[in-house]
Symmetry: C2
Subunit: 193 residues, 2 copies
């Protein structure tokens, strides 16, 4: 029995996560913390009106410059109801995507580490925003979301409490959840010459 | 001369912004503030490992349910150097896209409102993150970005100071800048039945 339980706790590949290699990588980073320093980048160009386009490809991490396997391009715009051309979602909708995707990435990984096979993870994210802020109609209304709600549905080969604990652990280690709930210093520089 | 100056200040269409309609819309919202209540949504499904996919289409605003003109779909993943399959950018990179796109949308609009024709707006956004946090290697390192830097290059038919002031006004009214710098309450609910 003890041997079986121990075996079950070994980090075998699961949920599409190469758990042994991931654990080895985390151990390597623990021994050489400078490998954990990452710098992500995005380059955005205005198209017209509220429409812009972002390219994402290079980043720094694991001790050197890295490239995504391809360049990714994303547009953003405002919707027709805000007198724009709706070429893409609004920037604030991308925050909801980032939040759901970050916690969900953690869920896949943590479930694998805990020996849980997932069948399904779906989340709906909603953000409430009062546009009187950004439209300059009220100085007492904030510009951004007043609150965000995430609703997860999860299915896997583990009891409900274990599945809930996986989501909670992912929330506790989510980079996007941290940034959105705690904020981050943002500096802006301008070349207008 | 005075007439000419006044004319120049009239909000004519510019930069792809239908300024007269936008101003009329803002006036209408000012008279009926419930029109300013928006709720944005995203639905995310786990694919495998750290890879998930988000759909964005419907939102509430301007007094009713709205639909983007099409459904938008975005993936997110972790890169190969983090033992994943790099099917898409990381969730934290989408935060950089959202930030650049939000301030840039404001720049296009505010420039139009101020009678400035833009030739070019480009921004590079960088975020520094120490992965010792999310990898569970340190409890004193935060999970998210430690700082974000945005560097704008802007060209238009106005003096440098006026172009700088447009960017500053956009920052002051940016929903994403507000959320990222000040944080927002996020609640998570789970259905694991």
């Amino acid at each position: 029995m003890t041997a079986t339980l121990t075996e079950k706790k070994m980090p075998e590949p699961r949920n599409g996560v190469d758990t042994p290699t991931l654990f080895a990588t985390i151990k390597a980073v623990g021994a050489q913390p400078e490998l954990a320093q990452f710098r992500f980048r995005a380059i955005n160009r205005w198209q017209q009106g509220t429409h812009s386009r972002t390219r994402i490809q290079s980043f720094y991490g694991a001790g050197g410059e890295q490239m995504h396997e391809q360049e990714f391009t994303y547009d953003a715009d405002h919707p027709a109801v805000l007198v724009a051309r709706d070429q893409a979602p609004t920037p604030v909708e991308f925050l909801l995507h980032a939040l759901a995707a970050c916690i969900t990435a953690g869920i896949g990984t943590i479930a694998a580490a805990r020996g849980v096979t997932l069948y399904e993870v779906e989340s709906t994210v909603e953000g409430d925003i009062d546009l009187q802020g950004i439209l300059g109609l009220s100085d007492s209304v904030r510009n951004g979301y007043e609150q965000i709600r995430v609703s997860f549905k999860i299915k896997g080969d583990a009891p409900e409490e274990k599945l809930r604990a996986i989501i909670e652990q992912s929330r506790m280690r989510s980079a996007v959840f941290d940034v959105l709930t705690n904020g981050v210093p943002v500096t802006i520089s301008v070349n207008a010459a």
